[in-house]
Amino acid sequence: MEHIAGRKSGLSWAVHFSALALVIVWVLPTLGLLVSSFRTTDQIRSSGWWAALFPAVQNETYRTADPDEARVDLGDGLYLVSGNIFVEGGVAANLDEIVREITVWGASSRAIDAYQPDEVADLGEGETLTVTARGDYEWRGTADQIEGRGARIFVTVSAPPDFTLGNYQNVLFDPSNREGMSKAFFNTLTVTIPATIIPILIAAFAAYALAWMEFPGRALLIAAVVGLLVVPLQLALIPLLKLHNDIGIGKGYLGVWLAHTGFGLPLAIYLLRNYMVGLPREVIENARVDGATEFQIFTRIILPLSFPALASFAIFQFLWTWNDLLVAMVFLIDSSGETTVMTRQLVEMMGTRGGDWEILATSAFVSIAVPLVVFFSLQRYLVRGLLAGSVK
């Protein structure tokens, strides 16, 4: 098309550029949280997360070792103090650990960028100081000059991006951390798996009946399912909580599993029926002619053929139950808080630990990680399900 329009290059560049801009805007928020979860508290407080992607340039001040203890007599009345500012300053444990680099330095606070690394600074009357890029210094002079306190060195340092896994260690594996996510993670998993599997099975049978069995009232039932698709689950909260209390389930896993099953069924039946209706009629009728029972047709033919639709719905239901907050708050989480799920814990942390982004970001990513993995590995089925579920 563009070839004919004759303006390929201009328009094509505009398309690439706009698409890139859109993608960047969409990814930046998540990227910010991801990067923050790998930074220490101090790093998060001192600069925006975007700064972490580039080498950090900072001005720092150090002092050489105390001359009265460290000076070495070179003879001829000359003395030398040498060492490494980063090791002595506690920034690096030993020389091998230095990953930062000095770009410029100075010997006085009025000219902190007076010298390049390795340059020798003349401090007057033969006193000299030199600093290498890696922080090794040599300070030479007479006994009068090399005494008292250590000489001050002003450096401009470029440090490479520095990330830590400590936040994840803390949030996931530290048993003494009462706000850790590991328990909530398992609680979420406990909610999710039965709440995904059970509706599929129930819906599959119903969908088969609605797709391939003749009986009066079928069209009405299908219409009812379509209607129930959009009924807000908000309406179900109080009546069902009351019901659960009356029949003795109360708040707990059983209640939340049942609720998710009920709320997931309309979509499950709708998706599966739409898919099953499209299966080839001959296959089913041949099986009937050959004397297969409906039960056999369903388990041996329909279920295997419907795998893509089953997978689509499974992904939907998994994402929905994993990400759910409202149903868990109403039907699961009691005052003991033992059964809290990750979404609930995140909301609580936003209240109590609002400024502690290292904890908040890491916890959020722990809860987001599993859906993201599912999303990227099974995207095909998700897209197929979306298309089957809405374009009709």
Binding site: A19, I193, Q234, L265, T343, L372, F375
Partner: protein, 333 residues
């Protein structure tokens, strides 16, 4: 019993129970009630086949009736009764109390704001993204990345955007990207975006647009690909420029899909709860109906007004429900 054991057991009982129910009920139907043998074999087969659909349907119908249909009527009943009076019928009193509450009108106003902006913006961005990514080599990667927020929970998105909107005192480095950009562009002092009435609604709305755009893009992209090539070629031959092709040839042909996307997102908007609950909890004039209802039901313990608010959401959903059912029935004919 540990929850994990309980979950494993539930899966076992649930799945086993379902399979067992379907298998056994079919066996009983075919072997015991109406055996396909003897004098009445033909009649029995017909009877068994008339009953069988209901065996297949029963668990689903039971769950749908109990978990979705019954609550609609029960909520309607609760909204007309007073719990403190032992469930006595009070007519529309709860609705009257609700409409006297300024917070309700604030929630309703904000919900309409959400309804106006989110479906329109998500559909527009989705259409733009679909059109842009359809013609470039790395389009699939771009699609994946724009689609990704669909997998993220509303709460996760709330945390993500709390960081974007974060504001810190003027004299320290900003860590929220919005304030950093704002100051870079010449803003005077950092703004706590979520506490500025009216505009904070927009900042919450952006979160949902961010999530829903991927959905719109996926659906619309499929629709764009379904457009017959000939119509576009004919337009090019007639000298249409790319913008005319897009707006006058492509968009009209996918109008039906746009309506579907629009209504689907509208439903999501009407039920929006987590984002507001997690980010502002309705403070600073950001209340929405679903959160208002949650407040009344579980914080104020006022079932009457809470149920009335839920009925308002139901009434807003109703036109779309009717429209969907109407379309579904028309297609089946």
């Amino acid at each position: 019993m540990s929850p994990i054991m309980q979950a494993a057991l539930t899966i076992l009982i649930g799945v086993g129970g379902c399979v067992g129910y379907f298998y056994l009920s079919n066996q009983i139907l075919d072997r015991v009630l109406f055996p396909a043998r003897g004098a009445n074999a033909g009649r029995n087969i017909n009877r068994a086949n008339a009953i069988r659909p209901w065996l297949f349907l029963f668990p689903a119908l039971f769950a749908l009736a109990l978990y979705l249909t019954y609550p609609v009527f029960e909520t309607l009943r609760l909204s007309l009764t007073d719990r403190s009076l032992g469930g006595a019928f009070v007519g529309l009193e709860n609705y009257a109390r609700m409409t006297d509450d300024p917070k309700f009108w604030e929630a309703l106003r904000n919900n309409f704001l959400w309804l106006l902006i989110v479906p329109a913006a998500s559909t527009a961005f989705g259409l733009l993204a679909a059109q842009l990514t359809d013609r470039i080599s790395w389009g699939n990667i771009a699609k994946s990345l724009i689609f990704m927020p669909m997998a993220i929970s509303f709460v996760g998105a709330a945390v993500i955007f709390k960081l974007v909107y974060d504001a810190r005192p003027e004299d320290v480095a900003q860590i929220g990207i919005l304030n950093a950009v704002y100051l870079q562009l010449g803003g005077d002092s950092p703004i706590t975006w979520l506490t500025v009435p009216f505009w904070n609604n927009i900042f919450l709305i952006i979160v949902l647009i961010w999530i829903q755009t991927g959905f719109a893009m996926v659906i619309l992209s499929a629709a764009l690909r379904g457009i017959p090539e000939e119509t576009i070629e004919a337009a090019i031959v007639d000298g249409a420029n790319p913008f005319q092709i897009f707006f006058k040839i492509k968009v009209p042909q996918i109008a039906g899909t746009i309506v579907v996307v629009w209504t689907t997102i509208t439903i999501v908007v009407l039920k929006v709860f987590d984002i507001v609950f997690a980010m502002t909890n309705g403070q600073w004039e950001t209340q929405v109906l679903a959160n208002y209802m949650y407040d009344k039901l579980f914080r104020a313990n006022d079932w009457g007004v809470g149920s009335a608010a839920a009925m308002v959401i139901m009434i807003l959903v109703l036109p779309i429900l009717v429209w969907n059912v109407y379309n579904a029935r028309r297609e089946m004919r």
